[in-house]
Amino acid sequence: MERISFEDQIQKNKVKSFILIVVIFTFFIVLGYIISMVLDPSYFFVVMVFSIIFSLLYVLISYYNSDKIALASVRAKPASQTEHRMFYAAAENMAIASGLPMPRLYVMESEEINAFASGRNPKTAVICFTTGALKKLNKQELEGVIAHEMSHISNYDIRFMTLTAVLIGMVSIIAQMFLRSLWFSNVGGGNRDGRVQVFLILLGILFAILAPIAAQLVSLAISRKREYLADVTGVKLTRYPPGLASALKKIKSEHVSERERKHRVAKAMAPLFISDPFKRKVSGLFQTHPPLDERIKRLESM
């Protein structure tokens, strides 16, 4: 039974990644259409050709470089073989236990205990830990967290999650730019029907606001289930639930200053991490991760 659901998960992630790419692709083309309508219909063809080329490039570059973009956005550096010996040893153990190729290891500067995995398939996978995690976690905890990340890798969660983070993260930036340009553009003047123009502008604004929110909500809804699943499959590798449980407890009890927390991590990257880097207190729709207490409880009852 486990085997089947596992493969289902892989298939689902591949399909979802594909759908996401198609959605983002059409989003840009529609956006191009709206922009050309708002600015000047005589530029229609130029804008459309530009937007098709742009969205094609955008999607392709994101697909093949999503892991690099994710790593660059948190300013991660490759882990050194000599300095992070325990990190390498633990990752190698988990690679052997899962039968996956050894992922490339990265370290990001942060006092907070956290980690994420990225890449488009197990062969190109990377695992990134914070310096705080490497400092504060012991070997069992480290293996527990790596095993959790390894399950994200083998499930192809990494492909979907990184694509979501990169594609949507960029969309929100571009949507903001679009809004700002509307503000400064010559809205009132022109020789066209004012009503149509206002309608298009309103549509554009609505679009720019709603699209990233909707896309993010989609990613949030699934990422919670993903975390539970990765916890369980991770434990199958270590055969030691207390390892991950005590790592999660350390995450829960640590106090990191507000300033420390805010820098470096972009909001769109949050679903990738093992625990929410923003430590949002509000539960419900906007929560990217299941509550730590619930995860710890489940691990302890294994």
Binding site: E92, N93, I96, A97, S98, G99, L237
Partner: protein, 184 residues
């Protein structure tokens, strides 16, 4: 008439696809099993490769512990010479036992314990021991999914057609499973 023909053809194609699917599934799982075995082998060899360095560093501080050193060397020789993987695994377990004993003896030599080189070897050998344990676990996991396929319906029928039978798990050698005695 034509309708019946289409239905029959579709059914035949489906059955052929199932045959292909199960054949590939068996091959994939068998490859995974082979792969995990070779992973164990690689780690066993790595361990054997580290032994001469270990002996050399111990010799510098504990010359008269000859007995354990010959034991370790002998176990290493047995491992290198073993012709089959099964025998190599057995020899590997033997070597692991002696290396463990060597480290226990090393506890009596503070200078040796403080030696950088020795500590590094100890660390590396402990890592290898972990890796072997995880490789064995992966092997058994692979066997489990293979056996599940051969024993459950409908994989069971295909297994008998392709001449595939359930495989054996790796057992922990008896002496390893016994709780070590602690003497005072």
């Amino acid at each position: 008439m034509v309708l019946w023909l289409i239905i029959i053809i579709v059914l035949l194609v489906l059955i052929a696809l199932m045959f292909l699917f199960y054949y590939n599934r068996f091959v994939t799982l068998e490859n995974r099993i082979d792969n995990s075995l070779s992973q164990i082998d690689v780690q066993l060899k790595k361990r054997a490769d580290l032994v001469p360095n270990l002996i050399a560093s111990v010799k510098g501080y504990a010359k008269h512990e000859k007995e354990i050193m010959t034991d370790v060397t002998r176990a290493r020789q047995a491992l290198i010479k073993a012709p089959t993987l099964e025998k190599r695994m057995k020899a590997g377990a033997e070597l692991e036992k002696f290396i463990g004993r060597l480290f226990a003896i090393a506890e009596n030599y503070p200078q040796l314990r403080a030696n950088e080189n020795f500590l590094q070897l100890q660390n590396e050998l402990a890592n290898i021991e972990d890796r072997i344990a995880y490789a064995r676990q992966h092997y058994n996991d692979s066997i489990l999914s293979y056996n599940n396929l051969t024993k459950r319906v409908p994989g069971m029928w295909f297994a008998s057609m392709y001449g595939r039978t359930a495989k054996k798990y790796l057992e922990i050698p008896a002496e390893e499973r016994a709780v070590p005695k602690v003497g005072f």
